[in-house]
């Protein structure tokens, strides 16, 4: 298999324009004849569906939730980056590109990232025109805030609910197209499998989650916008229904999976409080603009945080990284939090937390100013923890948040399966080994509004797509295999619940494939995952049947896939013998404990081909070499 990224030739700043000029178009009356399936209705899915429908395609959209408006993009808090340079602080498309590629620790493609920075400005225009109420200055113009990993203020925001407002904008744009009749919406439908005919993606199998019935849908192209796989860890900031099944089923049908070990651990989440915990809640990174991160200098500190004087507080980010201070990128902040907790300086009942303190900001700016900026986040914190962050420091700890890895795509966002496109967090495309804050919303909307509408059209115009119908044997086979998995899960009737298995898997992943990883730990994780997977298939207890609404059957189907994906993540983490971005291997660190990258041997995308699962996961690694023509690879420094 040869993985061709299909990057257009020419100067970096002209690649996308040139490509758009070169790609093939379909006439409006021909577009109408072509059907495109969009799976998922987050920022990428909703924006892609709306834009393709506006162009005239017939679009079918699938959401696992009862309304497309609930997709997990809705929970993004802090903001969205764009290179508008409204603050006159020297920002530019180049700088946004450079910060993103550097933030990703040089493990992403230059051309993709440059395009992302290039279209970022159009996203803001589009959102404002849709009525997205971004934060504004007194003069009525758009305001910006600063975010980790950048020295300019380029982040647009709607208080702490930027994801909600952007998603509602995209959702409304899509509902406008539902009204036009070109988008057909299927809510509470989960994609169970991808259907290939003559090697091309030609449809999907879904389950109606209410009626329990299994359905076949055919199309000329399928766009997967199903988000990330952070829920492999059980505890994460992802929503409870976010899952990897659609992506993993595509992988099992031949789509290669790229950089599975690149998982972002977000530094500012509310710490775990007990075994019953079902999810973790993120506190926006924007809090680090005004909050100062610290731990007590002394291990045996017993005083209330407010009584600890300045000289006994260890502002470890400010001390270690004086130029970026509390605004270092997420990977650096998370790793530092783990380091101080490993040294025994952690706070709270578990010792697995650090302080995020607003005392000085309130003194400087007043409580009112801080409340206006972060009020809803402070309320959320108080609601969950019962502590008042205006009066005492927040306690925070890193948590699994975002997966940079995902299905491999070329410059057109098409996987190695012709006709299968992957957008948003579900692809591996733009963030390398670490994503900067406020860049997920940018990527989801860039992919959906401004990239796939062009590249899907080019594909449909280019290839021969004979009519298929759902009577084709490929549909029957895929439907049958999905039903068999459900039957098998229901037939086990074992003694452990799905949640118990998932929690155990999550613990293995957090302990050994989490913030820091070692050869020894990863090898043992792989063994443990295999053993637990075997036990799952012999001892899981899935209640009820497949004939009606059954949440625990949905979970079981997803957890079965996590068991395979988890092994791939560990295999990839073991193979990548370097530290880069969020991937910290204990064996590869500088003397100061910073990530030690190895560009000579590892400047590539790891892309795995699925060969089978037989007690162990059989995979084949393909390497897409990353060429850096325009930026110089440097040791990242935020000091």
């Amino acid at each position: 298999m040869k993985l061709d990224p299909k990057i257009p030739s020419g100067p970096l700043a002209e690649k996308w324009t040139k490509h758009r000029n070169d790609i093939h178009l379909l006439s409006p009356n021909n577009k109408r004849k072509h059907k495109v399936i969009v799976v998922g209705t987050g920022l990428a899915g909703a924006s892609a569906a709306a834009s393709l429908s506006e162009l005239g395609y017939s679009v079918e959209v699938f959401s696992i939730l009862d309304s497309p408006r609930r997709a997990h993009s809705i929970a993004a808090q802090g903001g969205i980056n764009a290179a508008k340079n409204y603050q006159n602080d020297g920002d530019s498309v180049w700088r946004l590109f450079y910060d993103t590629i550097k933030g990703g620790d040089y493990r992403s493609r230059e051309a993709n990232v440059y395009r992302l920075a290039e279209v970022s400005n159009y996203i803001i225009d589009q959102a404002v025109a849709q009525g997205v109420p971004f934060g504004r200055e007194y003069g009525g113009l758009l305001d910006n805030r600063s975010f980790g990993g950048a020295q300019v203020s380029r982040t647009f925001y709607s208080r702490g609910q930027t994801g909600q407002q952007l998603l509602l904008g995209a959702y409304q744009a899509m509902m406008k197209e539902v009204h036009s009749g070109r988008v057909k919406m299927y809510n509470r439908h989960e994609m169970l499998d991808l259907v290939l005919v003559d090697g091309k993606a030609r449809g999907i199998i879904t389950r109606d989650l209410v009626k329990g019935t299994v359905h076949r849908f055919e199309a000329d192209a399928v766009i997967l916008c199903t988000g990330g796989y952070g829920n492999v860890f059980y505890l994460s900031t992802n929503a409870k229904n976010s899952n990897a099944t659609a992506a993993w089923r595509c992988h099992k049908r031949g789509a290669v999976f790229a950089n599975p070990c690149f998982v972002q651990i977000h530094p500012t989440c509310i710490p775990v409080s007990g075994d019953y915990q079902s999810k973790l809640t993120l506190m926006s990174e924007s809090l680090r603009n005004d909050g100062r991160v610290w731990v007590p200098r002394n291990k045996d500190e017993k005083r209330h945080p407010n009584d600890i004087p300045e000289e006994d507080r260890y502002y470890y980010l400010e001390e270690r990284y004086p130029s970026f201070g509390n605004l270092v990128p997420r990977d650096v902040a998370s790793r530092s939090a783990k380091m101080v907790c490993d040294e025994g300086l952690g706070v709270g009942d578990t010792g697995l937390a650090v302080y995020l303190d607003f005392r000085d900001a309130i003194k400087r700016d007043s409580k009112e100013v801080i409340e206006a900026k972060y009020g809803n986040l402070f309320d959320m914190y108080q609601n969950i923890t019962d502590d008042n962050p205006y009066e005492m420091p927040m306690r925070i700890f890193p948590a699994v948040h975002y997966t940079m890895g995902g299905l491999w795509v070329d410059y057109n966002l098409m996987s190695n399966i012709p006709g299968l496109f992957v957008a948003g967090e579900a692809n591996f495309s733009d963030h390398g080994a670490n994503r900067l804050g406020a860049s997920a919303l940018m990527q989801g909307l860039s992919d959906g509004y401004f990239i796939v509408p062009y590249t899907v059209g080019n594909y449909i115009a280019d290839v021969d797509l004979p009519k298929v119908n759902t009577e084709h044997e490929a549909f029957a086979e895929a439907e049958d295999s999905s039903k068999k998995i459900m039957d098998k899960l229901l037939a086990v009737k074992g003694n452990k619940t799905v949640i118990e298995f998932h929690r155990e898997l999550g613990k293995i992943m957090w302990d050994k494939v989490g913030i820091s990883r070692s050869k020894e730990g990863l090898e043992s994780a792989i063994e443990e995952i295999r053993a637990l997977r075997d036990e799952f298939w012999e001892n899981v207890n899935v209640p009820g049947d497949a004939n009606y609404y059954n949440k625990y059957l949905e979970f079981a189907y997803r957890v079965a896939d996590y068991f395979e994906l988890a092994e791939l993540m560990a295999i990839d983490a073991l193979d990548r013998g370097e530290s880069c971005g969020c991937h910290l291997r204990d064996e590869y660190q500088t003397e100061e404990g910073e990530a030690l990258r190895n560009d000579k041997e590892y400047a590539f995308v790891s892309a795995y081909e699925f060969l089978g699962v037989n007690g162990k996961l059989e995979t084949k690694l393909h390497k897409e070499k990353l060429e850096f023509e325009f930026v110089e690879l440097k040791q990242r420094s935020y000091k």
């Binding site: 939730l65 009862d66 408006r69 025109a129 109420p133 504004r136 007194y138 509902m175 406008k176 009204h179």
Partner: protein
Amino acid sequence: MSLMTINLKVWRQKNTETPGKFEDYKLDGVSEHMSFLEMLDVLNENLIKEGKDPVEFDYDCREGICGSCNMVINGRAHGPKHKTAACQLHMRTYNDGDTIVIEPPRAAAFPIIKDLVVDRSAFDRIIEAGGYISVKTGAAPEANLIPVPQDTSNEAFDYATCIGCGGCVAACPNSSAALFTGAKIAHLNSLPQGQPERDKRTVAMVDQMAKEGFGDCSNYAECEAVCPVGISISSIAAMRRDYIKAIF
């Protein structure tokens, strides 16, 4: 950490057609730090182990923003805490030995699917009728071309924060969706970008609301009282004002 015993009365209903009833459960070892939905997770783990059917309820983000959860707790949508979605409610709100009654939001326009899960697709159809600004991808002018006064933008934002949970409908004696519909109309109609379609939007959405079988608003304001994000009933006034203007 104190552990509590909680008595639950939960609405169990097999499907839309079959009548439902309350079932009693006793749950031990409930931690005050658990969220309300985590408490129900524990109940379900117990039920599965006993070979019984777990309670179905909608949830997703569990951080109060997706609007999936919308159960009625002791007669109040989302439970007793002001401006708090059911998923953000914590068991520290309750005392050892308390009895909690949990039922789905009841409205003709929200048919019950199973247990606490209801069909809220009527909300999507109200948005579909006109809850948007028609701007095609790529056609937008430069974002700072039209300044929007900060107060206007903030007001639009407050209305735009509706999470579409349907708690307002559950609380309303008329099962009206006026707060949901009004919030979207007030959001879009207050912005300069929303003006060209103002009348058309207002009429289409209000008419769709009636068509879905939601009742009319009689100014009880129960909706505002239970709204987990605090949407103001001034949105309903704005909707009425714009509707009258639009039809005459």
